[in-house]
């Protein structure tokens, strides 16, 4: 089984936008991987004029929110850093070893959400070099903000279409729909852990883990 990887385009967000943007992206991906019976729930974003879809599953929402909380905590401790969240889908395989039963995760898909959390914009004094003193700094800030907002909306929209495109083009690697309860394939959300290098290691380990079973089996 192949592990397909999708690297989403980097999204430049401000701190207060992290939560909603991540919710939008993560739920959108999971919606496409929750192939059990779902009753979709439309969600209008507060910050952007975008409507995305959730599966309407409480557990799933809770898990995603928890992970986002953890991620925001991490961002608070590590400002000025680009960061990555990895949403992986896997199958659970009972590997029949002779001496112990090992449950193994076979990753079949990974989504990398790349965020660049912008620092809070400097105070208006920074803009005093503008020759036009007549321009109200408040107004300037407002224009800046709305331009930035529009840019973010466009890039989130792009990311959503990127997801749609990926889902459409790559269907063969998706395992058969599990019969058991639970609307989604098993998944995990990896956020950067407290030390950056460990996160990298973690990723590499996961890649290796994913790669190997395919080669062996």
């Amino acid at each position: 089984m192949n592990c397909e990887v999708c690297q989403l385009k980097e999204l430049e967000v401000e701190h207060f936008e992290i939560r909603e943007v991540l919710q939008c992206i993560l739920h959108t991906i999971v919606f496409h991987r929750a192939l059990g019976l779902v009753r979709p729930k439309d969600v209008d974003m507060e910050l952007l004029e975008i409507t995305y879809v959730q599966c309407g599953d409480v557990e799933l929402e809770k898990k995603i929110d928890e992970k986002i909380d953890q991620f925001i905590n991490w961002v608070d401790k590590h400002p000025n850093k680009k960061s990555q969240i990895c949403l992986s889908f896997y199958e659970v395989k009972n590997k029949q070893a002779t001496w112990f039963n090992k449950i193994e995760r076979l990753y079949w898909e990974q989504w990398y959400i790349n965020l660049n959390v912008a620092q809070h914009p400097k105070s208006h004094s920074g803009k005093s070099h503008h020759s036009k003193v007549l321009v109200d700094p408040e107004e300037m800030a407002y224009e800046d903000r709305s331009a930035r907002r529009a840019a973010l909306e466009a890039s989130v929209r792009d990311a959503l279409f990127q997801i749609i495109k990926f889902v459409n083009e790559k269907k063969d690697h998706v395992p058969p729909i599990p019969n058991r309860e639970g609307i989604s394939f098993p998944y995990e959300i990896a956020i950067p852990s407290s030390s950056d290098s460990a996160f990298g290691m973690d990723m590499i380990k996961r890649m290796l883990q994913t790669g190997h079973p395919t080669m062996l089996s």
């Binding site: 979709p40 409507t51 879809v53």
Partner: protein, 622 residues
């Protein structure tokens, strides 16, 4: 799909199953598209409710899983428009399905009830001037009942049979069915999301989420054959195609041509909307009252202590649901015309019953015109229920009449908003708009039995709120004035009299509080209490604290309503005079009232509220 694997070897049933999947694929696709394009079916309201309510109830709202929901594991809201249109594809052999989403724009003189021009209201810009970019296409057709229609999306769902015939052995066909089904699920998921990302969805969203009349509407028509776009038209549109799903014998595909410039329509009015876009509606008492509806329950909610949260929560489309739910006209049924003719007639019958202030200025007083109006209503009724292609007959084109035209005429109905909602207006207004109206009796009793002190606080805060509105809100002034003038049934007097039973503490503590003989006493107290300096000595030791609070509440209830003053003054010479109703306060004490008086009084009410809050906190703690 359960028995699929067991049918190994049975080619007949395999292909039957595949056919069924394909049919359901058409059905579901149409459902997904129309559910997010066909206005007034309030699919958004449904989801809004879900967002609002607790997560667990999201499934309980329509807990039963219907067979239709199971297809592609996607449970959708009811969409009669989709059901109506699907019959043809259920019977036929995989004809392509073309779904056109049409933007219908009103001409400038469009009037929801009468086509006659309306005097007295200023109209500054024509629609064409307001929307230059929507009219510049070469499809400009003022001849069609002076409406402009433009296809903004064309969805094409088709099944292409492979010429070489079916491939694959029996064995693989079984597994390919599974794969086909899984891939179809995936396609449906992304279709569901994608329809919400296209520009047309914004229009749909606006139509459904706002209570204003729009100058545009969305219509749709579904057919197996359409006039292809001209090259020029097609050049203006963008294409999005979903990756086709391969089947054993062919492939299923969904694609769409869409106008990205639709965005201009939806975003442009957004900012200048209130002052310029439809001044006729925005500024009129009609829309003001309509606009107030969603917030009205808030007034009621104060008795439950949820004032702040409900006041400031984002207003959603579902806020209308309360008013919609009880009205039969909105319950679209999937069955063809007879029912709908009935409901249409109903709407227009209801129409003349509207109270004078709600009706549009130009509505002729002559009731005999109701007949004429029926016709207009029919013309503007939305297409979902009024399409020529009824369920019994496939959408065959009448020769010479392009389908789009035939459908287009029936394709829009912004009328639904006023026509449906207005009949309910009088009762609502009567109960909520007037300032001194007490909460309904029932809730009073309920609150008195439960959390007493908090109820008092809430009542006070709601009262204060009203006072604030009265002293500052211009809109509410206008509103009160309009209603007190034009309809005696809605007069404040009546509500004011109702205030007799307003005190929740009467029944518990002190019966003679309600006795009119005690009023002078209350008046004295009032005089004392309204003085902020003395208010600290609130009824010292006379009665139980409950009783004291009760008295105070009653005094406040009895106090002359500020807004009434203003309305009266507006009616009369423009000077503010004491209303005769306020028997509880001697005219000599407060001879005239000005805004500053009102503010002062508000201030004192505020202080009283704070005091009460303190007291009740202590009371609770004790």
């Amino acid at each position: 799909m359960k028995g699929m694997a067991s049918s190994h070897g049975n080619i007949q049933s395999e292909s039957a199953k595949m056919e069924q999947i394909i049919t359901e694929f058409f059905t579901k696709s149409l459902h997904i598209i129309l559910e997010s394009r066909s206005a007034y079916l309030s699919s958004r309201n449904f989801s809004g409710e879900q967002v609002l309510s607790s997560p667990s109830s999201s499934t309980s709202s329509s807990s039963s899983v219907r067979p239709r929901d199971k297809w592609f594991n996607l449970a959708l809201r009811d969409c009669p428009a989709a059901l109506e249109n699907i019959d043809f594809w259920r019977q036929s052999t995989f004809e392509p399905m073309v779904v056109d989403v049409v933007l219908v724009q009103r001409p400038r003189d469009w009037d929801p009830v009468n086509i006659s021009p309306r005097p007295g209201l200023a109209r500054n810009l024509s629609l064409k001037e307001r929307f230059p970019n929507c009219w510049n296409s070469d499809r400009e057709d003022v001849s069609w009942d002076s409406k402009s229609e433009k296809i903004i999306e064309r969805w094409i769902i088709q099944y292409e049979n492979r010429k070489s015939g079916c491939s694959g052995s029996k064995r693989s066909s079984s597994s390919s069915l599974h794969t086909l089904y899984k891939k179809s699920i995936l396609l449906m998921r992304s279709l569901y999301l994608t329809v919400r990302l296209f520009p047309a969805y914004k229009l749909f969203h606006k139509l459904n989420s706002s209570n204003q009349l729009r100058s545009f509407n969305l219509a749709h028509h579904v057919s197996s054959f359409v006039e292809p776009f001209t090259r020029r038209e097609e050049a203006e549109m963008q294409r999005f195609g979903f990756a086709p799903v391969e089947t054993a014998c062919g492939r299923l595909s969904v694609s769409v041509l869409y106008h990205s410039s639709v965005l201009d329509v939806s975003s442009e009015p957004k900012t200048p909307m209130s002052p310029q876009f439809i001044p006729d509606y925005v500024g009129s008492p009609l829309t003001d009252t309509l606009k107030r509806f969603p917030s009205l329950p808030v007034t009621k909610a104060t008795t439950q202590g949820s004032l702040s949260s409900s006041l400031f929560s984002r207003r959603h489309s579902w806020s209308y649901d309360n008013y919609r739910a009880s009205i039969p006209c909105t319950s679209f049924s999937p069955s063809p015309s007879p029912t709908h003719i009935g409901s249409r007639a109903m709407v227009s019958h209801v129409n003349p019953c509207r109270p004078p202030p709600m009706s549009l200025p130009a509505q002729p007083p002559d009731p005999t015109t109701a007949e004429t109006r029926n016709i207009h209503f029919d013309e503007y009724w939305p297409s979902p229920t009024f399409s020529p292609s009824t369920s019994s007959s496939p959408p065959v084109h009448a020769p010479g009449t392009p389908l789009s035209k035939a459908l287009g005429r029936s394709g829009s109905a912004p009328v639904t908003i006023p026509a449906i909602k207005l009949p309910h207006a009088p009762s609502l207004l009567k109960r909520h708009v007037a300032l001194p109206s007490p909460p309904p009796k029932g809730s009073q009793l309920r609150t008195s039995r439960s959390e007493k002190s908090s109820a008092v606080i809430d009542q006070l805060s709601s009262l204060r709120d009203d006072i604030e509105k009265a002293s500052s809100g211009k809109a509410s002034n206008t509103l009160t004035w309009t209603f007190s003038r034009s309809s005696s049934r809605l007069s404040l007097q009546e509500d004011f009299d109702d205030a007799e039973f307003a005190c929740p503490f009467d029944m518990d503590d002190d019966d003679d509080m309600t006795n009119p003989d005690n009023r002078p006493e209350s008046l004295d107290q009032k005089a004392t209490l309204s003085d902020p300096l003395l208010s600290g000595t609130l009824i010292p030791g006379q009665k139980s604290q409950d009783a004291a609070v009760g008295t105070l509440v009653r005094i406040l209830k009895k106090a002359p309503p500020l807004r009434q003053d203003m309305s009266k003054s507006l009616n009369a010479s423009g000077t503010l005079t004491v209303p005769s109703v306020s028997s509880t306060i001697s005219p000599s004490t407060i001879p005239t009232k000005t805004t500053s008086d009102a503010l002062e009084e508000l201030q004192s009410y505020r202080e009283m509220k704070d005091l009460l809050l303190n007291k009740s906190c202590k009371f609770i703690n004790n």
